[in-house]
Symmetry: C2
Amino acid sequence: MQTKRRKRLSAEEYIDGVLAGNMVILSKAITLIESNLQADMLLAEKVLTGVLPKTGNALRIGITGVPGVGKSTFIESLGTYITNELDEKLAVLAIDPSSQRTSGSILGDKTRMEELSHNPKAYIRPSATGASLGGVANKTRETMLLCEAAGFDVIFIETVGVGQSEVAVKGMVDFFLLLMLSGAGDELQGIKKGIMEMADAIAITKADGENIEPSKKAAIEYKNALHLFPPSDTGWTPKIITCSALTKQGIDNVWELTEKFFAHMTEKQLLEPIRKKQNINWMHETIAYLLKQQFYDRPEVVDQLKTIEKEVGDGRTTPQAAARRLLG
Amino acid sequence: MQTKRRKRLSAEEYIDGVLAGNMVILSKAITLIESNLQADMLLAEKVLTGVLPKTGNALRIGITGVPGVGKSTFIESLGTYITNELDEKLAVLAIDPSSQRTSGSILGDKTRMEELSHNPKAYIRPSATGASLGGVANKTRETMLLCEAAGFDVIFIETVGVGQSEVAVKGMVDFFLLLMLSGAGDELQGIKKGIMEMADAIAITKADGENIEPSKKAAIEYKNALHLFPPSDTGWTPKIITCSALTKQGIDNVWELTEKFFAHMTEKQLLEPIRKKQNINWMHETIAYLLKQQFYDRPEVVDQLKTIEKEVGDGRTTPQAAARRLLG
């Protein structure tokens, strides 16, 4: 694969361009953020520090659901609504650690959101690629900050409901929206345990045609189920709603619900404290991530790991003794 | 507080005593495991390695629920049933990182399980104390191994449903039982999000007198709710059951359900692979825990941490830049 020689700007040029809302420079800045080259990382840090005071002014929304639930179509509908009807500027990002550098991420794929990708008030960026979720999640967070500094009012962060990405996204957004299909069974097979309880709202998608009644039934079932579960510390009870990206029915209700959520959080003055806590947690998570990376990269650890794991698996040594041996 | 000078045995004396099912020596061995003194830790490792081949033969059961749900009474009833009626040998352990060295743990408190504490086939041990969950959880796991080597058929590990302990317990048991009260509202206030989806079975307690009908209703509601949630990878669907520790109604059903679970897991040959994975995960978690402990103990980190956290909280630096600064 041919490596394009990227023309690097100065930190000021990146900062000024992003703050001016220049989409070309924003894209370059995100590419800089995503780079693993040492020199790029130092420059990226300067850029982020420079734009940091201008971040925090967007609504941060996580959107998840298993493949097949219609995420791209949903995002396109909701995104088109809020940009056209409400004049908001929208950035659509994604976390997809499984995406390959050559094939790109399925999420945030512009070809699946054609209308939105041509919308001058919308900006779509596929997921960074990376070997680990921790690394990719960091880049998504920083991309979000750049987009906020560039003046976007709303940020969507998309994730597939089948891995650990959802926990990462939950830790960087204000509002977590789960898309589900009506009817249990196979559709649920893909979703990971614990995600439903993370959701601030559940939208039952594809509520059109023959699916309208089943969707309403499903909404009632989920409402009853969630009622049995512990409430959030924020006092917000998760809401269920049906919608169709095809007929557009309910799409405005989804946004109305989102606005209700933010009104609630603002009234209780919870948004800033939660974001503060998220940032401090993120710092500690990054520390843990880097410590582990350093550790597992050590030659002596690389050498011994498989052998020691086998000893643990075979019950020949306790996990704790094995851990201490590896730590030397 | 007066420090008792403990008489330390040799590794062989501990090993032989535990394997012979000597309860006095088992207790001494657990106390050794719980010690943070370096010399004790080396000796403890020898003892564990010595008994390790004789571990793994018990049913490992986690029991959780908010304070007030009747955990002690339930454990006493179920414990009395399986020791007296079924002739099983039972060890009751606990994870309670909040317990103080001077006041002891509320969980595993013998005064709350008087009948069981006098039962020759039962052994009750309060939680280890410790500054962090990771440290305490490690000690509970090793205590469990010692109990298995000492010949116990069933191990209960008790935890309160309000912290991170449940995730730790889920990672060290085969079967995770959640106790709930009938009726939503205040009783649910205490339980942490995500725990209900972790449960392999839910027992609605205090199903006696006026509470019988409400308990049956609650059982149906929870059954419907859990049906909407993703199934486990093991193919086991969580079951709901009502019982009363007071009248003993349903206690035998709880055990029958537990046996059904183990029959299912044995038939699908899932028990060993899952335990293997738990052990390997535990090793990696211990590595992460020790790396973090080493890191946060560094003098330069202790000095800077509060200041840097404040910078992050105030939005003056990105969490990632802050993490890199602390890592030096």
